[in-house]
């Protein structure tokens, strides 16, 4: 059959396994004596290497769509008709192909949600909105200064020399003086011509994150507030250089996540927050999937951190501080999906570590959860999370630890 073929054509058939033994022997004899044929033989071998290295693996997620359409996988398809499943698979196919639309939509939603985060009136640098200094909390164990001696002018005005006693001390004391009342007190004292204003600011506490306390004189009801130092600021964001070029980034490996948490704090203090922003105890993130296991991304969030710290003021008074701090945080996260142990029902464990910070200090988080791939582009997860917010006050480092449950959803672009 191949007698009429050229040597080159026979060589092609030989390499494709289509040449008989007899013809192959003759061809090898000719090959040994023909350098041009030898070159062609080498080129054919090279081409075979090229072709074998050019196999294209189907994208991840295609199998899930096929299984969904066939009614063989996922909660949606269990018991559902194949027609409905394939229609849903088709809809998801249309949505996933509209990458541009999904990107814009995600960016708009992310912008709206981020702006909602910023609604909080949290005073995270410990300075009140009206410019008054914060009141620290005095604990019962603190020494009570004799302010009367510090600023009284010893004349015959109405100030007496009694030792000042704080109205609100520690959490054991249930008496709380509201800021409005303190303002009134300050105004009253200002009207007293004979009153010598103390060196400290007579002010009200604006932020309700602190219990405020005041010293009162029995007769004149003057309230005083030692100034407090703001917590040292911390810049949590390291500079990151990215060498990712546009050609290397696959847009369909980007996912947008939203999650909430319900966590218990250590220390556990019974202090109400200043206010209730819309998106509190929630986080948004953007992740890029490098391979089937590893993904990295940026995450922002806002949540309550109960803080307890102590320090010494200008008068060497030991002061205990307690507050319910609503912190906006951001940072980088790394997630590992244990796809190797994926259950046939598309549930598998994931773990994530986060490093970032707030205005008051660095924040680290760790999460271990179970994730369920609902379809090609949608996932849900729930699990345990622990976090630690580090902050410094008066030379000491403190940490607020939290432990609880996290739950969320992810959508792939």
């Amino acid at each position: 059959m191949y007698e009429q073929l050229t040597s080159s054509e026979k060589l092609c058939a030989l390499l494709d396994g289509e040449l008989s033994a007899g013809d192959s022997g003759l061809l090898f004899f000719e090959l040994a004596q023909n350098p041009e044929l030898q070159d062609e033989f080498r080129d054919h071998l090279s081409m075979r290497k090229m072709f074998h290295s050019a196999q294209i693996v189907p994208p991840e997620g295609l199998k899930a769509r096929i299984l969904a359409g066939a009614g063989l996988g996922g909660a949606l398809t269990y018991g559902a008709s194949k027609i409905a499943s394939s229609q849903i698979a088709s809809i998801s196919s249309v949505l996933t192909r509209s990458k541009g639309f999904l990107m814009v939509f995600s960016a708009v939603i992310g912008g709206i949600l981020t702006s909602l985060f910023m609604q909080s009136n949290n005073s995270d640098n410990l300075i009140s909105r009206n410019g008054f200094s914060e009141f620290p909390i005095f604990s019962r164990s603190a020494e009570i200064p004799d302010y009367s001696l510090a600023f009284l002018n010893n004349d015959d005005n109405k100030l007496n020399t009694k030792k000042l006693v704080p109205i609100v001390t520690s959490k054991n004391d249930n008496v709380i003086l509201e800021p409005k009342q303190a303002l009134i007190i300050a105004e009253q004292s200002d009207k007293n011509e004979d009153f010598v204003k103390p060196q400290y600011i007579v002010s009200a506490i604006e932020t309700q994150t602190n219990h405020f306390e005041s010293y009162t004189d029995d007769e004149f009801n003057v309230s005083l507030s030692p100034t407090s130092n703001s917590l040292d600021s911390f810049k949590p964001f390291p500079s990151v250089r990215s060498n990712i070029t546009y050609e290397n980034v696959k847009l369909d490996e980007i996912s947008f996540q939203m999650r909430g948490f319900a966590m218990r704090s250590i220390p556990d203090l019974n202090i109400p927050p200043l206010d209730s922003p819309t998106l509190n105890n929630m986080a948004l993130s953007l992740f890029y999937k490098f391979n089937q296991n590893l993904s990295a991304g940026i995450e922002i969030g806002q949540e309550n951190f109960l803080q307890k710290y102590s320090g010494v003021d200008e008068n060497n008074i030991l002061i205990d501080y307690e507050q319910n701090y609503i912190g906006f945080w951001a940072g980088m996260a790394l997630q590992y999906d244990f796809k190797e142990v994926e259950h046939p029902s598309y549930i598998y464990p994931i773990t994530r570590i986060f490093i970032g910070g707030t205005k008051v200090g660095p924040l680290v988080r760790g999460m271990f959860a179970l994730q369920y791939d609902y379809q090609n582009n949608f996932s849900f997860f729930t699990g345990l999370e622990s976090s630690g917010l580090f902050y410094r006050f008066d030379g000491d480092i403190y940490v607020t630890q939290k432990l609880g449950v996290t739950f969320g959803a992810s959508i792939k672009l």
Binding site: E9, H44, M47, M50, F51, Q55, P58, I66, A70
Partner: protein, 187 residues
Amino acid sequence: MKRELKNKTDEELYYMLYEDKSKARAAFDELYARFSTKIYTYCKRILLIDELAEDVFQETFLKFYESANVDREMTNVSAFIFRIARNLCINEKQKKHHSFIDIEELTLPVENDSPDIKERAQLVDTALEALPEKFREVLVLKEFLGFSYQEIAELLGSTLPTVRINIYRAKQKIRELLAPYMEDYQE
């Protein structure tokens, strides 16, 4: 169970698709593992567009699975599934107008520097995409999917000599296009 499935023939796995859901799922997973790369490579090489290739790939396996519900005697699963993929690719291609280039007129720009691995793969892609459809198809079926000349002839409804000469001409053209880069593959 996975090990047992690996020892089963394609035809035995095909008949399992008609059984209860857990067995069907396991059999489907094994068949998918065996054919998905080849089918996807074929779809991608023939259609050239990712979205179309994914759609046809998905539809191929769905139709393949649905065919198991019909009482049929299956003798060659490989040819059967490729026939499904081919018919779907043809349907897809008929929706679009293609202009064909004479195979003798094809050229590629010559690079002086040795390309890295990614560029090599792109060269192969470009060379394959530059081939006319009939040459590209036989080459893909032979080199990427491992069909014999006879099987290709049956799949395409053609004759063995036609398949042989088309494969030869396709390879000669690929060789001519990639001649400057052959040395890199001979390392």
